[in-house]
């Protein structure tokens, strides 16, 4: 069994974002980077499948500049076997089609039985790459998965629907699964596993050596949303704020 996990490195969402010089994406300076949260569930599920089968090769792949190797290393420390870094300084410019085509360019010769991705990234939120990749590899895709089971070469999943309902869906391998939050409990890498991960293989492929699809989206700009809410903003010492809020609740909505 050969498993691919696609992961994206994204900035901490609590960051103070600034717009880059071109005005179309965020400035990468002074950001703390981490694995896209949805992709952590993908990594965990791949490692759980390997444990269930008593062996499998799990490849962790990420696309971007050199910094994304840190995200791959974390996936290796969580239990993936080898890393693939598609080196692409311009990765942030690319639309989902271009990204999926680059991943497919690497993956199509590898013959993966199972591919896990997050259902979306926290920064772009397009929710497209997993499904597009499946199409390019000629594999069925199951999205927004919150429950996963592998039995006799078939995958049974539960898709999360609106209002807490789930849809139970099944398909045979090979397949692509996109992971929703809460699918499992991603493990923390232990120190011995972090040390072990340093010796695992990390292959770098230049994006320029893979055939990318043409871009299909034009970005006009990135901006902070206009503040529409005319809400009151209270700042200051905790004790003063507490008094002010208590007064508001008492006077305006008679809760206290």
């Amino acid at each position: 069994m050969k498993i691919l996990v696609c992961l994206k490195q994204i900035p901490d969402m609590e960051s103070k974002f600034r717009i880059n010089e071109e005005g179309i994406w965020y400035d990468e300076a002074n950001l703390a980077w981490r694995i896209n949260e949805y992709d952590e569930y993908a990594v965990e599920q791949a490692v759980q499948v390997k444990e269930q089968l008593g062996g499998a090769e799990v490849v962790a792949l990420s696309l971007g500049p050199a910094r994304v190797k840190e995200a791959i290393k974390k996936a290796l420390a969580m239990g993936c076997d080898r890393g693939v870094h598609i080196n692409d300084e311009e990765g942030w410019r690319r639309d989902p089609f271009e990204i999926a085509s680059l991943i497919a360019g690497y993956a199509k010769e590898e013959g993966f039985d199972l591919v896990f991705t997050g259902m979306q990234s926290q920064d772009r939120g397009s929710a497209q790459v997993g499904v597009l990749l499946a199409g390019m590899l000629g594999l069925p895709a199951m999205t927004t998965v919150v429950d996963f089971a592998l039995e006799d070469g078939a995958v049974r999943v539960k898709r999360e629907l609106e209002g807490g309902m789930k849809a139970c869906v099944k398909c045979n391998l090979p397949a692509v699964v996109t992971c929703q939050l809460g699918l499992n409990t991603p493990r923390y890498p232990t120190l011995p596993n972090i040390m072990k991960a340093k010796r695992k293989e990390m292959q770098t492929i230049e994006a320029a050596d893979l055939a990318a699809a043409g871009s299909r989206l034009v970005t006009d700009r990135l901006a902070f949303p206009e503040k529409k809410g005319g809400g009151l903003v209270l700042e200051g010492e905790a004790a003063d704020l507490a008094g002010k809020l208590a007064t508001i609740l008492r006077d305006k909505i008679k809760v206290l």
């Binding site: 900035p11 969402m13 974002f17 179309i24 965020y26 989902p96 089609f97 259902m119 926290q122 772009r124 939120g125 397009s126 929710a127 497209q128 499904v131 597009l132 199409g135 069925p140 895709a141 999205t143 927004t144 898709r159 629907l161 609106e162 209002g163 807490g164 309902m165 789930k166 849809a167 139970c168 869906v169 099944k170 045979n172 397949a175 939050l181 809460g182 299909r216 989206l217 034009v218 970005t219 700009r221 990135l222 901006a223 949303p225 503040k227 809410g229 809400g231 009151l232 903003v233 209270l234 700042e235 905790a238 004790a239 704020l241 507490a242 008094g243 809020l245 208590a246 909505i253 809760v255």
Partner: protein, 305 residues
């Protein structure tokens, strides 16, 4: 501008978001043409053409089959835009359509002007303006972003009779109902909710105590429930409970759209957050910029003193 809307139908019912698709078409001043896998017994009320594929024949959830059916209608109608809801149905189907049509896809549009769409980025802290570089575009609309069209009219129904095989590789087995809520947050007049900003599971107690002191219940955001810090029946948002209490107090909740969907109709919203720019500020009547771990105990002392 020609638009093809892809309506939604589940468990024998037309889904509410379908009206928002019609609202979008109206805003774009386009004649509404809709494709729907549904049932003649529950049709959307609008004046326009409706391509109806029987759910009994093609399945409520069968993405590969639905993809083929939509493509057949696209062939007939040749729309400039194919528009879906950004929902578990829409975000699954849209990229399949975009791939087959070799069209750009724009996900989770919240606004449109002059052929360009605004989409959220970085947990809604930022807005990106994008446009398709292809002649045709596939767009998904954020739930609640476009005003629903008032229901009215009778569609001209064309029954879809396709030669497409009514089974794909992905096999639908059935639905699983939502867990029965042990706590009915819908009845609470005051809800104090905990978000990731509470930092650690032990701090749930502080939020629960505050809720009790205000005569209400405590709720939680999705990350808090996913982390196992609170039970699922406390979850507020599009995949949890939808609430509208007299007072909703969001503590350490950044305000992802899925959470806002579940609480923005509350009468009065107070947000406590250390990040002044957190999107929750957009819906809050009062935003208290503070560290919860200092503010909540201080507030408890004030209201109990």
């Amino acid at each position: 501008m020609k638009i093809l809307l892809v309506g939604e139908y589940r468990e024998g019912q037309l889904q509410g978001c379908t009206c928002e698709l019609l609202g979008f078409a109206r805003q774009m001043k386009a004649e509404p043409v809709m494709f729907l896998v549904g049932d003649a017994a529950d049709l959307p009320a609008f004046d326009g053409r409706l391509y109806l594929a029987e759910a009994g024949r093609y399945g409520e959830f069968s993405p590969e089959v639905h993809q083929q059916l939509v493509l057949e209608v696209v062939e007939k109608e040749s729309p400039d835009l194919v528009v879906l809801s950004h929902s578990s149905y829409g975000w699954d189907l849209a990229p399949r359509l975009a791939a087959a049509l070799e069209a750009a896809q724009i996900s989770e549009a919240v606004a449109v002007a002059d052929g360009a769409f605004e989409v959220p980025a970085c947990n809604a802290k930022l807005r990106r303006t994008v446009r398709p570089a292809t002649a045709r575009g596939v767009v998904t609309l954020q739930a609640g972003a476009f005003d629903p069209a008032p229901a009215g009219g009778t569609p001209e129904v064309q029954t879809v009779d396709s030669a497409v095989e009514a089974a794909g590789a992905v096999e639908f087995l059935g639905y699983e109902a939502a867990e029965q809520a042990g706590v009915d947050l819908g009845k609470a007049e005051v809800i104090v909710s905990a978000g990731r900003g509470i930092g650690k599971p032990e701090n749930i107690g502080m939020i629960a105590d505050l809720a009790k002191a205000l005569g209400g219940e405590y709720g939680a955001s999705r990350p808090v429930v996913d982390a196992g810090w609170a039970d699922h029946d406390r979850q507020v948002g599009s995949t949890g409970q939808t609430v509208a209490p007299r007072l909703y107090m969001a503590c350490g909740i950044s305000g992802a759209v899925q959470h806002l969907m579940g609480m923005k109709k509350s009468d009065f919203i107070v947000a406590v957050n250390s990040d002044r720019d957190a999107p929750i500020g957009e819906v809050a009547d009062v935003l208290v910029v503070a560290d919860l771990k200092e503010f909540v105990p201080a507030f408890m002392t004030t209201i109990q003193g």
